[in-house]
């Protein structure tokens, strides 16, 4: 009962923050960067590993594939890698718990800064449908690309970047080079 009332007060507090506060300005970029850097450093010192995001998504996907078609998942080397956790459940994985934390941390930050709003982020020059088509197609390319590169902006660029890993720096430079090259074609969506 005590636990229930605690959850209720927290929910009330969050609802209050959600409805009362106007969006606050973003944090100074260098300060936010130091914050992320210290979190990454903490991961190195405590765990001996860095941060990640696409790896956790792969674990969730493998969980799905393994639930629908177990023999198919177990015969594929890619899925098998994510199935090989201590308990055999792909969700029993460090990055899966870390990404759950990311969701919690992002929500806390959004709530205390008055930035939790149901919206579609885009420029006024494109329709919601266009934005959603681009979001989905971009997601496909990103999911595919991150698997070829063995990681994303978190697992490769940030983590591998700080560890001075050659492949991570190549990945990071490639990401920005290609993004700048094609940015022209998607300008309407963002400006």
């Amino acid at each position: 009962m005590r636990y229930y009332s605690l959850v209720r007060s927290v929910t009330q507090l969050l609802t209050y923050l959600y409805t009362m506060s106007a969006p606050k300005p973003y944090m100074n970029p260098y300060l936010a960067g130091i914050g992320i850097g210290l979190v990454l450093l903490a991961a190195f010192v405590i765990m001996g590993r860095g941060l990640g995001a696409s790896g956790a998504l792969s674990s969730f996907l493998t969980f799905g594939v393994n639930s629908v078609a177990p023999s198919h998942a177990q015969s594929n080397t890619f899925y098998k890698e994510y199935l090989s956790t201590p308990s055999g459940n792909p969700l029993n994985d460090w990055l899966v718990f870390e990404i759950l934390g990311v969701l919690i941390g992002g929500l806390i930050s959004g709530l205390i800064s008055g930035r939790v709003r149901r919206t579609v982020d885009k420029s006024a020059r494109v329709t919601i449908t266009t934005r959603m088509v681009y979001a989905f197609s971009g997601g496909i390319l990103m999911g595919f690309g991150s698997k070829i590169a063995r990681g994303c902006t978190s697992g490769q660029a940030l983590t591998g970047g700080a560890l001075l890993s050659v492949g991570s720096w190549v990945f990071m430079i490639a990401v920005f080079a290609s993004a700048y090259c094609v940015a022209y074609f998607f300008k309407k969506q963002w400006t």
């Binding site: 960067g33 210290l38 405590i46 990404i99 959603m132 001075l164």
Partner: protein, 195 residues
């Protein structure tokens, strides 16, 4: 201090998962605070209108890099137990190029997309769905492309090895490049504001 703590057996797997959540909360918090829950904000980087992505990423990299360097200098952390990520040159180059196109189209990266979704951005949820589709596509094609993805393997090679510099010199070099980059970014933004 014997770091990394987990590698020295200071705690078990379940505590490690607890740390995962706590570390994730910190990561998600600062991503959202930086403004990375908004695809429009992120994408301005690619039109030189707002260079927050560059500033945050490089500040984070040099903070963690310098922390690791000084901890190891004072013998507080055994760097050999913090695995350097292995390099697969061509796949990582190609993966990065594909990823970059996805970044401009989708507006998010995998981590920022989670923060966007949880703060109510519907395009974030759709982007997340797209990423699952992309990973599924990769998984299904893996029997065909798996070997290529492991090609041009160079092992756990670092920039210091490639540049034939000491760890400290490489760190210093990256810090100097980053500081020059920050200076350039501030000037560019100032010039665009006055125009």
């Amino acid at each position: 201090m014997n770091a990394p703590f987990y590698q020295f057996g200071l705690f078990g797997n379940e505590t490690a998962l607890l740390f995962a959540v706590v570390i994730g909360i910190g990561f998600g918090f600062f991503l959202e605070q930086a403004g990375f829950g908004s695809s429009v904000k992120l994408a301005q980087q690619f039109y030189f209108r707002d260079l927050t992505v560059f500033k945050v990423m490089f500040t984070a990299i040099i903070t963690a890099m310098l922390g690791l360097f000084w901890f190891s200098w004072f013998g507080l952390i055994d760097l050999s137990l913090v695995g350097v990520l292995p390099t697969f040159l061509i796949p990582q180059l190609v993966g990065g190029l594909v990823f970059g196109v996805g970044f401009v189209m989708g507006g998010y990266c995998p981590g920022t997309c989670c923060v966007a979704s949880v703060t109510g951005k519907m395009d974030g949820w759709i982007h997340l769905l797209g990423m699952f589709a992309g990973i599924l596509l990769f998984g299904e094609l893996f029997p065909l492309i798996g070997d290529w993805c492991s090609s041009t393997s160079m092992g756990e090679i670092t920039l210091s090895q490639v540049l034939h510099l000491s760890h400290g010199t490489t760190v210093l070099l990256i810090v100097l490049v980053a500081l020059a980059g920050f200076w350039g970014a501030e000037n560019l933004e100032k010039r665009l504001r006055t125009e």
